[in-house]
């Protein structure tokens, strides 16, 4: 089911060809980072802190070095000094000093799992045994695990040099304050008939990609290094590793392996510089692969948060005012996505008066990394629950209530500038008209909830080349690691422009020396920005084809046109020429044809999604079963609909896991107690229904093919949709994620006793 405003009749785009890397991936041939081996390769393991917060008094590696098979050990002292300032690095801004401190602790450990030393040995088992022989002396400090503790006066300070503009030269755990304001909030609330105010708490959660982080580093005596790893951004791995290692960017080549999921978590570095450092010390290739426990303890989950939302609406269902306070756990170093969360939290609605204050707070947890629409899901859990409650107060259907307040083209965004063409209303109508929403939900303890979500999507830099081969087929080369089928989309765009069969186009993901700079596979940007570069590169090839045909026909280029994959001479009856026919004449007409394009993409089209969930609650245990789920999302233009649906379904599944059972569970010492897939409970096949999709295609005017990007916004609505469904099933408003059985049961029992009391009182 799809609603499309995208014009242009396409031959390839919108079809569902088999992905070009498919056979390799169903036969086990595809090479992921951990699959690389080299002659003489050593294996590395990382020693990690058992403490959440401690000073390192001493590290003794002598015993470990004596273990037969151990070749080298590195600690924080082996890293060059790094500067404490903000720098631009691809998608994100970085602080070189904090980045370095996260790769190997300098003089302090800041979370359970913080890397302290790395060992290279002849087998992973020996490296692991060596870790047990490294002696570290700690001065254990009080762990700071939540924003509440971190912001209390006199709280232990994590980073002695951290300052923020407002507090001047005072030591603090608050790294940043963002504020967004419009109109007169007090006046706004005066105009409201209903005002709802609640506090929400969301637990820290992990992206949960199945492939652990990995890296193989090879350092050559000439000072050149090569890194093979599974990453969302080879160019970022290169610039960040160069930064940490104090090497020139040009001396590092990063070869992106196939990647087993990332969802934002593989946009930064952990093992990559260690593999180079150990290779430099040993003269051999060194491979490091994280264990699952290391991934959960020491990679980059997304922030837990505390959010207070107060919103007002008039009787007739108009949102008039919002006052919001939000604080996100950044982890051990500054940089939670709270700013993005603040810009998303009321983005879907026109609200005349609002003030949003957002705080980035450091705590003794792993440094957070990006996770699918970073910051937006926490925010939407809070705002979309309040919206639902206001709709209920007004006695208006939750979808109609949202439609009455939905943003459309020309409305101001939270940050000020007006929206261009957007598709929120279409996603709301998509759900409203879906078989799911039209169906009647019957049965006890069952409820239906809806929620909407917003994400900006990203542009940034991408490069592409299109090579026309001697037989008229083509290859399209980009720098975007293919994390969910993007190769197919790049080949389809090339095939569409050049009128080729999609199987005649071979899509390639190149290393950092073989293609121009390309920012991360993230921000829903590959099909948008890299797709734009591919489109331009194919157009460049088309221009060259026209020139060549003109030469062959002894005409001027403007007397030749390219139509339906064929070159046509205007006027007289020269028969049209296909690329296959022209290709053999490339040598005599000027040589090979390579189309090139690099972009710093503008014209980003924001994404909206609306999700509807039916749940059934076990009244005796608080266990929630998702019975049915539908998501409508604006793709702009769906290049390969199957993989667009796949992104919508995958993000929804992650959102449902976030809603129900996923959470970082730390004990009072700040030790992570569920650092494995047994107790970090991601949804299994048995926990989810089929996920119905409505692909909305509200063309993005900023893209030659109308593409917006679909990777992220699908994760935003589910937690709120589930909370709203639970309310309709059992009458309690959940304000905490995960809405796990113990929490929901407690809320239900409290609700029952209170309703009994009030009943008794009547």
């Amino acid at each position: 089911m799809a609603a499309s405003t995208t014009t242009g009749n396409f031959k390839v785009i919108g079809t569902r060809p088999i992905r070009h890397d498919g056979v390799d991936k169903v036969t086990g041939r595809a090479k992921y980072g951990a699959d690389y081996t080299f002659p003489g390769m050593l294996h590395g393991k990382v020693l990690r802190s058992p403490h959440a917060h401690a000073n390192i008094k001493s590290i003794n590696i002598d015993k470990a070095l004596k273990l037969p098979g151990v070749k080298a050990i590195v600690t924080g002292k082996d890293l060059p000094k790094a500067e404490n300032k903000l720098e631009q690095a691809g998608e994100m801004t970085i602080n070189p000093m904090y980045l370095s401190m996260n790769i190997l602790a300098h003089d302090k450990v800041l979370y359970d799992g913080h890397a302290i030393a790395a060992v290279a040995a002849t087998s992973p088992h020996i490296a692991e045994e060596a870790l047990r022989l490294i002696e570290v002396e700690y001065e254990v400090l009080h762990p700071v695990m939540t924003v509440d503790v971190a912001t209390k006066p006199g709280a232990p300070i994590l980073l002695k040099d951290l300052r923020n503009k407002e507090e001047g030269d005072k030591e603090t755990n608050v790294a940043q304050h963002y504020q967004f304001k419009r109109g007169d909030v007090a006046a706004g609330f005066k105009a409201a008939d209903y005002v709802i105010e609640r506090e929400f708490n969301t637990a820290m959660v992990h992206q949960g990609y199945i492939e652990p982080h990995n890296a193989v580093g090879i350092y050559n005596s000439d000072g050149q290094a090569t890194i093979y790893c599974s990453t969302q951004g080879a160019f970022d791995v290169r610039s960040l590793s160069a930064q940490v290692l104090g090497m020139p960017v040009g001396h590092i080549k990063v070869v992106p392996a196939e990647i087993g999921g990332g969802f934002g978590g593989k946009t930064t570095i952990y093992l990559e510089p260690l593999s180079v450092l150990l290779s430099k010390k040993t003269g051999a290739p060194v491979k490091l692969v994280m264990s699952r426990s290391e991934v959960l303890r020491a990679s980059g989950p997304t922030s837990g948060s505390k959010i207070k939302v107060k919103m007002g609406a008039t009787k007739d269902g108009r949102l008039v005012a919002a006052e919001i306070w939000m604080a996100y756990e950044a982890g051990a170093f500054p940089g939670s996505p709270v700013g993005a969360g603040a810009m998303c939290i009321i983005a879907p609605y026109t609200i005349e008066h609002f003030q949003i204050d957002a705080y980035d707070v450091v705590v003794n947890r792993p440094k957070t990394a990006a996770y699918r629409a970073p910051g937006a899901t926490n925010a939407a859990f809070a705002s979309e629950t309040i919206i639902d409650e206001l709709a209920e107060k007004c006695g208006i259907d939750p979808i109609d209530f949202r439609l009455m307040n939905a943003v459309k083209e020309g409305d101001a965004q939270v940050v000020g500038p007006p929206f261009k063409r957007i598709g929120l209303i279409q996603t709301l109508e998509g759900v409203k008209n879906s078989p799911h929403y039209k169906s009647k939900l019957t049965g006890k303890f069952r409820g239906r909830g809806v929620a909407s979500g917003f994400w900006f999507n990203a542009g940034m830099q991408s490069s592409a080349t299109v090579n026309i081969h001697a037989d008229g087929t083509a290859s399209v080369v980009t720098g975007s690691p293919d994390i969910g089928g993007s190769r197919a989309s790049m080949a389809m765009i090339t095939a569409e422009v050049l009128g080729l069969d999609v199987t005649d186009v071979r899509p390639i993901t190149a290393d950092t020396d073989s293609i121009g700079h390309t920012d991360v596979t993230g921000g829903s940007r590959v099909t948008f920005a890299t797709g734009m570069a591919v489109y331009e590169a194919a157009k460049d090839a088309e221009r060259q084809l026209i020139e060549r045909a003109a030469k062959v026909w002894e005409k001027k280029p403007d007397e030749v046109e390219f139509r339906d994959g064929k070159l046509h001479a205007k006027g007289n009856g020269v028969p049209p020429m296909s690329i296959k026919q022209l290709a053999p004449r490339f040598p005599r007409t000027g040589g090979p044809i390579t189309g090139r394009a690099s972009v710093n993409a503008r014209g980003v089209g924001p994404g909206f999604a609306t999700t509807c969930v039916d749940v059934e609650v076990d009244p005796d245990t608080g266990k929630v079963q998702v019975l049915r789920c539908t998501i409508a999302q604006d793709a702009g233009k769906a290049i390969h609909p199957s993989y667009v649906e796949g992104q919508m379904q995958g993000g929804t599944a992650q959102g449902l896991g976030w809603a129900l059972n996923e959470e970082y569970f730390y004990d009072d010492k700040g030790t992570l107690r569920n650092s494995g897939f047994l107790d970090y409970r991601m949804p299994t096949c048995l926990d989810l229904p089929m996920i119905e999709t409505v692909v909305v295609e509200e063309a993005n005017p900023g893209h030659p093919l109308g593409v917006r990007g679909v990777g992220e916004v699908s994760i935003v609505p589910p937690p709120a949709a589930v909370a709203n469904a639970i309310f309709r099933a059992v009458g309690v408003r959940m304000t905490e994620t995960p809405m796990s059985p113990p929490k929901l049961l407690k809320a239900m029992l409290k609700h029952r006793s209170s309703t009994q009391h009030s009943a008794a009182a009547d």
């Binding site: 088992h125 692991e128 045994e129 047990r132 005796d620 245990t621 266990k623 079963q625 129900l660 059972n661 569970f665 107690r673 569920n674 897939f677 047994l678 107790d679 409970r681 949804p683 299994t684 096949c685 048995l686 926990d687 796990s740 059985p741 113990p742 049961l745 407690k746």
Partner: protein, 289 residues
């Protein structure tokens, strides 16, 4: 992982000899679904693994209408859930075996290994306790039988002495008009460790309870045999009031902990809920026999 030695004897005597030789440093090895994880994590430093899967007697499952069930310690869970005999006579134990991990795990893990691992949350142990199962143990100085409820002495530790081997589990033949059930609570629908597990067996006399046994998992440091609730039910109908009472008595004997799987408060509540549900299912089944 530290270096280990692996041996796969084909007789009980050989196995016992090897276990005796290496004492505390040796452990029987069956499905490996717990011990390999523990060795990797360094929580056990066993240096000798004695694979018992090649010992015939430990791989046999045999049922006799009078003598009951002999369940070899190394019989994988999958053979239990695929056995018609088991489904007919011991549906509760069969459910428990079917709940352990994924199919990949059930294809390797055994009920005996589940017991010897000594986890308070083992799924099959409460089911065995409800059935009055006894563990037959062979060691250097001969053999002995231990009631399953007293087999585990603390988390990860059992009554097995160095050199001793669990050979089989002996389960009485079901009495007329009796059956069993096992229920566990987990947050997901698969792959979790029991937050609470309750096994119940019920023998009926008409619509009244003639005898009942309740086994509890994940509510104390070891799996428990609960007797109070079972006793008060004798001679009574399993109506709501009596089930409520039984549930209350069960949560009284529970001594659970707060952890990432559930709070004390939650476990006490769930223990009562599952007791009511398990007794009801067992009784329903007993009626049909």
């Amino acid at each position: 992982m530290h270096a280990i030695n692996y041996e796969a004897p084909s007789t009980i005597d050989q196995a016992v000899a090897i276990l005796k030789e290496h004492g505390e440093n040796a452990r029987p090895f069956c499905g490996g679904t717990d011990i390999i994880i523990q060795l990797r994590a360094g929580v056990r430093r066993t240096s000798h693994l004695v694979d018992i899967k090649k010992i015939k007697e430990l791989r046999t499952l045999s049922f006799d209408a009078k003598k009951g069930l002999r369940l070899g310690a190394a019989v994988p869970c999958i053979e239990i859930s695929e056995s018609d005999v088991m489904r007919k006579h011991y549906p509760g134990l069969t459910e428990a075996a079917h709940l352990i991990g994924s199919l990949q795990i059930q294809n390797r893990a055994s009920v005996g290994g589940n017991l010897c691992n000594g986890s308070p949350a083992a799924d099959t142990t409460p089911a065995l306790i409800a059935l009055g199962a006894r563990a037959r143990v062979v060691g250097p100085v001969g053999e002995r039988e231990v009631p399953v409820e007293s087999f585990v002495i603390s988390p990860g530790r059992t009554v097995l002495k160095p050199g001793e081997l669990l050979v089989e589990l002996l389960i009485p033949a079901p009495a007329p008009h009796s059956s069993d059930a096992y229920l566990r609570f987990i947050p997901r629908n698969e792959m979790d460790i029991a937050v609470v597990g309750v096994g119940a067996s019920v023998t009926l006399d008409g619509d009244k309870v003639k005898a009942a046994r309740i086994g509890l998992g994940a509510v104390a440091a070891t799996p428990l045999l609960e007797t109070k609730a079972a006793d008060v039910l004798i001679g009574k109908k399993l109506d709501d009031a009596n089930l409520e009472a039984a549930g209350r008595l069960v949560s009284e004997v529970c001594r659970p902990i707060d952890d990432m799987r559930g709070t004390i408060e939650f476990r006490l509540h769930i223990a009562a809920v599952l007791t009511r549900r398990a007794l009801t299912i067992a009784a329903e089944r007993a009626k049909k026999i």
